[in-house]
């Protein structure tokens, strides 16, 4: 048998030896005497075994799991073959009824209906990767009064407060607070969605009742349901009113799993101050739509293109020292559409997400394309840029868009007319493709925007409906970099500085 220690011989042996020594030192306390715990366990087991013996009334019978050996009067009664067959059929029918008649659809309906009856909700969620805490979120909701969410992710805290008039979003330590018109959160708890958990969406997955997981929570007997969808598993504990009292959401990412544990309380009194914005005195409150217009006016855009009631614009375009293409872009509604649809709907903030935010991270080109809807593709010299509406919901990021067809909304050469910037290649093509469900023929702009809005609502709760993704192949053929942004407000200077710093930090190939 090959020694595993020898097997790993190609590694730095000194390091392994040192690691082993440290591991053994670390483990030393576990190598103690477990006599007391053992005694306690064996006493408990002996008591259980005695109880099992009494139940089975069989002096020589099995002890552990004795129910398996216990022959009940019921089993004796059904021993005749016809009765046994009938019993099997009855059990099968009952199982079928349990699994399919009380199906996942009705479970979803029941859970969402139960939320319609509640007035307040308080959610506490903690997410772990392995045993490492990743995120802690607390949510307070009071119907028609307010919504607030505090999330801590690493060293950063994000605060969202909403009342009937506005939604404020703030990242602790940042100088600006975004203030937007309010959302459905304030009126409908079924709309409850967070970055890493979307109850209504998760409830669409196939559900299975699992009585073994039933538990008593706060003196209430709760039924456990398990819902699975690929790498995503959700366990729900529902009380007698079908309210979710507790949940456990697991998302497998390759070999690691991200698990979120949540507990929910209903109809507890919530202080009204919970829904009042309270930010640092020196914070600047900004209305993103105004900020976008004043900071990135279309009149100074290098390129602009209108499609499906939205205007795509490029405000800056240059090569960095490492030949990486760099762009500042925005997307906003046309003035006409903004006026026509100015009813407080959140989709009017498309553009804010794009232009005011810092980079949030990166992902592979393949994943991003699979996860998002391609809005536009632009080629400028050797630089190809794809614009996407990115689905940021983690559990869905690798699923291809299910939309049945693409609507092509722009002709390629139109953009040439809008090029104000000189000195660039004139070989520019531009197209926009917007996937929406439904019948391509006869679709109206209003319908298109409604569908688009609905898609966005599935993904992000506050203002982050859509984010722009840039696909930037390095000029030397290196790894494609994709960037996306969230709606934390940055000045243009900060944004550029942040992006350049980030590019410089990226290890060279």
């Amino acid at each position: 048998m090959q020694s595993p220690r020898r097997h790993a011989g190609w590694l730095d042996k000194r390091m392994i030896r040192s690691l082993e020594d440290n591991l053994r030192r670390y483990h030393a306390p576990f190598r103690r005497d477990y006599a007391d715990e053992r005694r306690r366990l064996m006493e408990a087991i002996a008591a259980e075994a005695d109880a099992a013996r009494r139940r089975t009334r069989r002096a020589t019978g099995s002890i552990a799991g004795s129910a398996a050996d216990h022959v009940s009067p019921w089993r004796r009664w059904i021993r005749p073959a016809p009765l046994a067959a009938a019993a099997v059929l009855a059990v099968a029918a009952a199982v079928w009824f349990t699994l399919f008649q009380s199906s996942e659809e009705s479970l979803r309906d029941r859970v969402l209906a139960s939320l319609e009856r509640i007035r307040t909700m308080n959610v506490d969620m903690r997410t772990y990767q392995g045993n490492t805490p990743l995120r802690h979120t607390q949510v307070w909701f009071e119907r028609d009064v307010g919504f607030s969410e505090h999330t801590t992710l690493g060293d950063t805290s994000y605060i969202t407060v909403a009342n009937n008039e506005y939604t404020w979003r703030h990242t602790a330590g940042r100088p600006m607070v975004a203030r937007m018109k309010n959302y459905k959160h304030v009126t409908d708890p079924a709309e409850f969605r967070l970055d890493n958990f979307d109850l209504a969406s998760a409830l669409q997955n196939p559900a299975r009742r699992d009585p073994k997981g039933d538990e008593v929570i706060d003196d209430t007997r709760c039924r456990m349901y398990r819902l699975r969808n690929g790498d995503e598993t959700l366990r729900l504990w529902l009380d007698q009113d079908d309210l979710v009292r507790s949940f456990e959401h697991e998302l497998r990412r390759g070999r690691t799993a991200e698990v979120t544990y949540g507990s929910i309380n209903y109809d507890l009194p919530i202080e009204t101050t919970q829904f009042e914005p309270s930010f640092p005195a020196d914070a600047v409150v900004v209305a993103p739509e105004d900020y976008l217009k004043s900071t990135f006016p279309l009149s100074r855009a290098i390129y602009e293109h209108e499609a499906a009631g939205m205007v795509f614009a490029v405000h800056d375009l240059k090569r960095l020292d490492d030949r990486t293409g760099y762009m500042v872009t925005s997307v906003r509604l046309t003035d006409d559409d903004e006026k026509a649809l100015d009813d407080g709907d959140p989709w009017r903030f498309f553009g804010d997400v794009i232009a005011l935010a810092p980079n949030r991270g990166s992902m592979t080109h393949k994943s991003a394309v699979a996860a998002s809807s391609l809005l536009a593709r632009m080629k400028i010299g050797d630089l190809i840029v794809h614009w996407h509406l990115l689905n940021l919901k983690p559990s869905k990021t690798l699923e291809p868009d299910p939309s049945p067809f693409l609507i092509r909304v722009a002709a390629a050469n139109e953009l040439k007319k809008h090029v104000h910037h000189t000195g660039r290649s004139s070989d520019i093509t531009f197209s926009a493709m917007l996937p929406v469900p439904g019948d391509e023929a006869g679709i109206t702009l209003e319908r298109f925007l409604t569908d688009l809005h609905a898609q966005g609502q599935q993904w992000q709760p506050i203002a982050q409906y859509f984010a722009l993704v840039e696909v930037v192949p390095l000029a030397d053929g290196g790894r494609t970099v994709i960037r996306w942004r969230d709606p934390n407000l940055f000045s243009v200077g900060e944004f550029i500085q942040h992006t350049i710093a980030r590019i410089q930090r990226r290890p060279s190939k």
């Binding site: 048998m1 595993p4 097997h7 790993a8 590694l11 730095d12 390091m15 040192s18 690691l19 082993e20 440290n22 591991l23 053994r24 030192r25 670390y26 483990h27 030393a28 306390p29 576990f30 190598r31 477990y34 715990e37 053992r38 306690r40 366990l41 064996m42 408990a44 087991i45 002996a46 259980e48 075994a49 020589t60 019978g61 099995s62 002890i63 552990a64 799991g65 004795s66 398996a68 050996d69 506490d124 903690r126 772990y128 990767q129 392995g130 045993n131 490492t132 805490p133 802690h136 929570i217 706060d218 507790s246 456990e248 070999r255 690691t256 799993a257 698990v259 544990y261 949540g262 507990s263």
Partner: protein, 184 residues
């Protein structure tokens, strides 16, 4: 029947499980002795304190005893027990979630030195690094390096092939080396 992997005269898991099923409660004590350290380390990485770990370990073994009749492959008792420990650890976290006033979260680096195995800063870092490993890698380290079980026994507990076990072990070491750097 003996533990052929280690070549010792100890009865193997299958033999012990069958004895327990036949009514020999003491045989369960031998299974306990064999796996308590592993289960303790798994539970400890969840609770972060000795007292609650003891209760959780107790719960794991009690659950396994109650459900022993459902174990279809007695020679896979170890991996079955590990699965129970993982499930029990999750249940523990969820239970703690409900009592928010008490639960302060799992913070591998945030507990008192007295309670943490290995008191010095280096050990704390190591412990934190181990806690960030995926379950399989963490358990592989515990089994092989800490519990000093043979690769054959360790791979059985994890339900892996021999080469698969070595790969997991190697990944765990690589990851620890990346996290801890040259210091270790």
């Amino acid at each position: 029947m003996t533990d052929s992997a280690s070549g010792s005269a100890l009865p193997d898991d299958r033999h012990l499980v069958e004895k327990v099923r036949a009514g020999d409660v003491a045989a369960f004590g031998q299974l306990y002795d064999r796996y308590v350290r592993l289960i303790h380390t798994i539970c400890y990485s969840t609770t972060g304190n000795t007292e609650e770990t003891g209760d959780l370990v107790h719960e794991v073994f009690l659950r396994s005893f109650r459900n022993l009749a459902q174990l279809r492959e007695p020679d896979r008792f170890g991996s079955w027990l590990v699965a129970i420990a993982k499930r029990a650890s999750r249940d523990w976290i969820r239970r703690k979630m409900r009592d928010r006033h008490e639960f302060i979260g799992i913070d591998p680096g945030g507990e008192s030195e007295d309670d943490a195995p290995g008191g010095d800063e280096q050990m704390q870092r190591l412990r934190h690094a181990i806690s960030t490993l995926p379950d399989n890698e963490r358990i592989a380290l515990h089994l092989f390096y800490l519990d000093e079980q043979s690769a054959e026994k360790a791979r059985k507990v994890l339900g892996l092939s021999r080469s698969g076990f070595y790969r997991v072990l190697e990944r765990a070491r690589d990851r620890l080396r990346d996290i801890l750097g040259s210091e270790f």
